[in-house]
Every structure is written in C-alpha cells, then in structure tokens.
C-alpha cells in the first residue's frame, strides 16, 4: 500500500533516478484488454497498490485531469497523470495494448503504450515533472517504442524501461 513520500531505496543519494525505481513488476501490464480510454484507466489504476476506495477516487481524479486536455502525446503513447492527497508517494504503472485503443491523441493514432503517473499534490522530492519529462523524452525515440512493443516479458520490459533515467 502507500509508502513514505521519500523513496526508500537510496534514491536520494543518487544523482540519477531510474524510472523503474517507481515501477515494480506488479505495476506492469503487457496485455491490456481495454479498447477505449475509460477502461484502460481502470486497468492501469488496478495495477497500482491502492485500496479499493482509493482506486475509485484515483479514477475520478484521472478523468478530471483528462477532461482539461488529452494526455495522449501521439506516436501511440499516452501518459495519463494526476495528483491527489490519496497518493502517499509517486507511483507509476505501465500498460501495453496489442490492439491499440482510441484515446483522442494529438495525432489521432491509436495508443498502444500507456504510462500512468500518480503523485501527491505537494511532493518533497519534486520528481513528478522530472518523471513526466523523462517518459516524454524516452518515448520520442522510435527505437525505444518499438523495443517496448516487442518486449515478450515483464522482465524484458522492465529492463528497457530501466534505461530511462532523470
């Protein structure tokens, strides 16, 4: 469940923080069944270590953020993100869809790679935007995206995701 706000894996001592330090194997889903945004959110939120009531609230907050503007950044990638008091620390979930889903992305392409980022409103380590920037930057690389799409196991996907540092 929710952990202390400061990560406990010695991250604060390192100048580079890796994406996978916030992305355990249990938060990676390589075969999302969703075909549209709403059910994809539900699947992604289910990958996070949250209580039932927190999941419901997390979905509400995500919907609200999405209503302000789509988080589909194009190239088949979406990075839904939101902040709320219910999150004790920054958490990430990664989902991949084989078929692709309709997401109202800027380029109107179907989304196949999704990164969900949730965080407390005020976060002492201030990693929220750095994580967001790291994902945007990594996924701009076509080779990186192709490797993520081709990953055959969670371990392989995690290994590819571990290359994203910030």
């Amino acid at each position: 469940m929710s952990q202390p706000i400061a990560p406990s894996s010695g991250l604060m001592k390192s100048s580079h923080v890796r994406l996978i330090d916030f992305l355990p194997a249990e938060s990676i889903g390589l075969s999302l069944k969703a075909t549209e945004k709403e059910s994809a959110f539900e699947e992604l939120v289910a990958l996070l270590p949250l209580r039932h009531a927190e999941r419901r609230l997390a979905l509400e907050v995500l919907r609200q953020r999405e209503a302000v503007g789509s988080t589909g950044v194009g190239m088949g990638v979406a990075i839904p993100h939101c902040r709320s008091t219910i999150f004790g620390r920054l958490m990430i979930a990664f989902g991949r869809s084989e078929e692709g889903l309709v997401f109202q992305s800027v380029d109107r392409k179907k989304v196949r790679l999704m990164f969900l980022i949730v965080s407390p409103p005020v976060e002492v380590t201030n990693l929220y935007h750095r994580v967001l920037a790291a994902i945007v930057s990594s996924t701009k690389d076509e080779h990186y995206r192709k490797r993520l799409l081709a990953a055959e196991s969670v371990a392989e996907a995690r290994s590819i995701l571990s290359e994203a540092v910030f």
């Binding site: 469940m1 929710s2 202390p4 706000i5 209580r51 009531a53 927190e54 609230l57 509400e60 907050v61 609200q64 953020r65 209503a67 302000v68 503007g69 789509s70 988080t71 950044v73 990075i79 939101c82 902040r83 709320s84 008091t85 219910i86 004790g88 800027v106 407390p120 409103p121 005020v122 935007h129 967001l132 920037a133 945007v136």
Partner: protein, 117 residues
Amino acid sequence: MNKDLELIIRLNDLELLHKEIEQGSLSALAEEGLGFSLGKREKVAKAREEIRGLVDRRLLSRFDTIFKKYGKAVAPVLNGVTYCCYEKLPVNLCNTHSENHEITTCPYCGRFLYFLL
C-alpha cells in the same frame, strides 16, 4: 471511505488544479511545456462547482476557511504523523480512523485528515 470525506478530497484536488491553471503556476507551465494541453480549463471550474453543490454546507464552510488559510484543506497522515503540522497523532485516533470511515480533523490546525496505509 466516508462519502463526505471523499467529496472533500475531490474538491481539494480540484481547487489545487484550478489554482494551478488559473495562476499559470510553474507546474502548469511545465506540463504545457511538455506538450500536454490544459486548454479546457472551464471544465475544472464546472466540476468544482458540481462538487461544491454536493458537499454539506457546514463542511463546505469549514473547507473554504481552511483552504483560504493554508492553501490546502486536506492533509495525509502517514505512520501516525500528519503531513500538515508534522505532529504525531495519538495512537487511538490513528487506530480508530485508519480506514477513513469518519471525518477527522487535525487537532493542531483543523485540516481534514486522510489516513494513508
């Protein structure tokens, strides 16, 4: 979770988002700089008004007073410590409210408390 507390948390999150967008905070600028659109800001205002209409009037009045005073009206509690005043709460209070079934306020500043696991 207590339904009123749920509404209070949603309202708090929306107020913070609304404030960020309206004031063009660094956070909002950072998001827009990364290519995320925050264009439909009136939707936040509309959702905020909808939730305000659902919250009990007395709670809403207390929410507004606290939000105005501190800039946020809800604080998380982790391992018995409030993340507003950073004070240790009595153990019996934490045990009783750990599932957030009731509305609890910080005995030091009055902010609504949300008990994290």
